[in-house]
Symmetry: C2
Subunit: 255 residues, 2 copies
């Protein structure tokens, strides 16, 4: 293993082990972590997978993680493998594939939180720019609660080219835009492949990408305080699509 990175948190480390895509150097468990269920499960999983774990002083984890909330567990592992957009499209050729594209999200916590919600909502991939945006680091791994191991992360040099390619492959482009007239719950997500585009915390979505949008949707508010956090906004839209899917399934069953 050449590059190694540190991940921490019970869920992050457990998910990385369970999904089996990462190479482990070793797992570090704090002496003080105790014997709760999750730690015991992690240890037995590590044994099964042939991964070394060792006990260290909590101070050591504090230092290694720069006082992040490590929950008594960390691991040195290989970084995630970024995927290629072409191979993603090829291996997800069915109907109802959804993907999210982040245009310049700079905050690692937001990136991690979006990945976490996206996986819960059945999203298959996330596209991020190779510059001008957060990349996957220890904070993202932790904030995603390990969800990072269950989604294709696609890093591209040009977001515009990526959107164009998706359009060529019959993805509909849905841009979150609080200036839009249309509500996010007024489009039907259940009968298409779509890419949901979320813009940067302050600047929003760049013009060149906005031009390519098939739908622009806003999340209507009940007050004049119009300022959702970008990860919450993404969760609201993605779970509106989940609601529609579930309702459609029920209707099909009934009829």
């Amino acid at each position: 293993m050449s590059d190694l990175m540190l991940i921490y948190g019970k869920n992050s480390v457990t998910e990385a082990l369970e999904q089996g895509e990462r190479e482990f150097n070793k797992i570090l468990i704090a002496d003080s972590a105790g014997h709760d269920e999750k730690i015991e499960y992690l240890k037995s999983l590590a044994k099964q997978c042939g991964v070394l774990y060792q006990f260290v002083k909590k101070d050591k984890l504090d230092k290694l993680t720069e006082n992040a909330r490590h929950q008594g567990v960390a691991a040195l592992i290989s970084p995630i493998k970024y995927e290629d957009l072409d191979s993603f499209i090829e291996s997800n050729s069915g109907k109802n594939t959804s993907i999210i594209l982040l245009d310049g999200i700079e905050d690692s916590h937001n990136l991690g939180a979006i990945i976490r919600s996206a996986v819960c909502a059945g999203v298959k991939g996330i596209i991020i720019p190779s510059r001008r945006g957060a990349l996957v680091n220890s904070t993202v791994e932790k904030t995603s609660a390990g969800a990072i191991n269950r989604i294709s992360v696609i890093k591209v040099n040009s977001l515009v080219s990526a959107v164009q390619k998706l359009k060529e492959h019959n993805y509909w482009v849905i841009a979150a835009d609080h200036n839009s007239k249309d509500n996010h719950f007024d489009i039907d997500y259940t009968d298409m492949n779509f890419v949901l585009v979320m813009g940067a915390e302050h600047a929003g979505i760049s013009k060149s990408i906005m031009k390519l949008a098939d739908y622009k949707v806003k999340i209507p508010m009940l007050t004049d305080f119009n300022s959702l956090n970008v990860s919450n906004a993404a969760a609201i839209i993605l779970f509106e699509s989940v609601r529609q899917f579930i309702n459609k399934k029920r209707k099909n069953k009934d009829s």
Copy 2:
């Protein structure tokens, strides 16, 4: 002014000034903050309100905020005033009052993010316990993007008593519970006062409160990765209620 606290971030400071409920000692602006629109607006607002501002080196703000994302602005102001549940109930006696109750949320970022989404969704109050949970601090103020100034924050010694009192005043108790059989989008939020109860990041909602719930709702997932961040979960449920309100208004208009 006896107690003073530090808040930071352009939105936090601007909102606190605009809402006019807090006493300002002074505003600190970094030399390097430049002359962007928001800073210029903040300065003119401060002048209007008779609040002193002074320029300092960015280093000073870095130190004061312990390297948080202060965006070049901080202020020394009086803490928020916690409200009393009785007076909240009295002054919000109309129909369709919604309130959120947090049972042991420990993470300040989550508390701030929930307040931000709650205000966007028209929620009027937030109940937090005086012990075993995050209280309002500088991080909460920043993460809420100033929304903290637009909601009643009610700190109580007993969450159970608070829920009982709300029930006596015709609030329906909706508990977020991922073990429930019922989906969050299958209840009608538009014809009642409700209190949405969200549980702690790991432990969930305590049994004594769960017993008082009129509805238990889950957010169904499209995968077996069942692990939403609590602020995203709150946003999803609250904005389902917003969707229902807006659709109901439209229907009433049409008929």
